[in-house]
Symmetry: C2
Subunit: 270 residues, 2 copies
């Protein structure tokens, strides 16, 4: 999926919503207990009810890996379902991988070839070696961690460098030279809207993947105010606030309503 | 496995060798093509011939994930084989995970509960949230990336902070406050032996996991000279130089010889 296709989908749906598939087996509705592939059935139901409001899905790999082989099987099933039924929607592997070149190229193969994800989140600590192998895939995206929404993002991401800039700014400016707006996005947390405005100054064209709306305290309005660019340039993620909004047999319908509410908040900005 | 047990094993084997199971299916010996679980059979043969020289094994997750479900199955089989036959040997998941707290706890579950790894490599970019959930497991280890051996480690790891120290030093000094020498190690590349000496000054007691010996240019002698502490404090990793030293039917025997050669270089320092 390229930049223009992503933007066209955003305009068509009047939404820049990414639904996080943090499908924790412990939190699945009672009605799915006992079925053979509960995570997959859950995802399928959520996807069917939210797809008209979502431009991206983002499975969080940890929740699948924690189930071992059974989790990996259901992740592959989820990808297949998305590819076959909603190929226009971007699918992001929230994997936060980061390793040396020959290893990174194997991760790229895992996510882009084996499972046909459109994008993968990547940790920048080890430098360009960790990202460049992913950029070799046409139509695929690297989503590089910049300024995250968690509390301990202050430990290192916001450290001031001798050069006078914070680490996350250096990461963004360096990573912008590895690829382009057509294959690179950055993770910028919604809990720091004033930082979104600052980052837009030196990174005007790239898409930002923005977690932290809802449970973590950020709002669509603030994120849009500070983060929008001429091609929207935002994917705002919500996970638990949508997928676990209800635990009855009606869970998917309620998830759809929550997704619609967020999309309605986004519509004026598209 | 605790600090003392690891040290006892090092003394008993007169070795601080970690064998990296970067078991790339494309590089497996011809004789294993066509068997049902080639990666597992390869690992099993390598393990049996190197176990007397190795105090740790380190499967690199990327090479398993790149094979999808089949790779994940063979990783679990490898862990089971190690746990059942060589429970005294440390097994490190080279996964370089790093995420927010609730996600990190799921990764911890995947590696420590589901697969019974003894240790996992972790990326520090997002701060303490990414590491602390792993430290809650008694007898398990977090191996935090500090100064890696790859070329682009210079991009960020060595950046000078306003406080006058390089980023990797800040990472080490912060992470030392999250846990202790009994549950935290650091990755320090063998390609920068002078840095090993510098890091030992402010981090005297922790174990270092040292990649980069062999193919990448580091030597056992230099690493030992600058990195040893009173309890050895080193795990020196070699992957391709051992496991892919030979591609004939004799591959495991040759791997055993390569492991023995490295262990012999280590013996004088134990």
């Amino acid at each position: 999926m390229n930049y223009q296709q992503l933007y066209e989908q955003i305009k068509a749906k009047k939404s820049f919503l990414c639904v996080g598939l943090d499908s924790d087996p412990k939190l699945l509705p009672e009605c799915l207990k006992g079925v053979q592939y509960p995570i997959y059935e859950f995802n399928k139901a959520i996807i069917d009810k939210t797809a008209q409001y979502a431009v991206a899905y983002k499975p969080n790999l940890a929740f699948y890996e924690a189930e071992g082989v059974a989790g990996w099987i259901q992740l592959e099933m989820t990808l297949k379902y998305l590819n076959e039924n909603y190929s226009e929607i971007m699918v992001i592997a929230d994997a936060k991988r980061g390793d040396i070149g020959n290893t990174a190229s194997r991760y790229a193969r895992a996510f882009f070839e084996k499972m046909n994800f459109d994008a993968v989140t990547l940790a920048p600590y080890m430098g360009s070696d960790s990202v460049k192998p992913f950029l070799e895939y046409e139509g695929k995206w690297s989503v590089v961690l910049a300024l995250t929404s968690n509390k301990s993002a202050n430990d290192f991401e916001q450290l001031q460098l001798e050069s006078g800039e914070p680490l996350y700014k250096k990461v963004i400016c360096e990573a912008m030279t590895w690829g382009s707006k057509d294959n690179t996005m950055f993770v910028v947390g919604a809990t720091r809207p004033e930082k979104l405005a600052e980052i837009r100054e030196y990174c005007p064209d790239h898409f930002f993947l923005v977690p932290g709306v809802g449970a973590q305290g950020g709002t669509v309005e603030e994120v849009a105010k500070y983060g929008l660019n001429s091609h929207c340039g935002l994917l705002v993620n919500s996970s638990r606030g949508i997928i676990f909004a209800d635990s009855s047999e009606n869970f998917a319908v309620v998830a759809g309503e929550k997704a619609r509410e967020l999309a309605e908040q986004m519509a004026p900005y598209v």
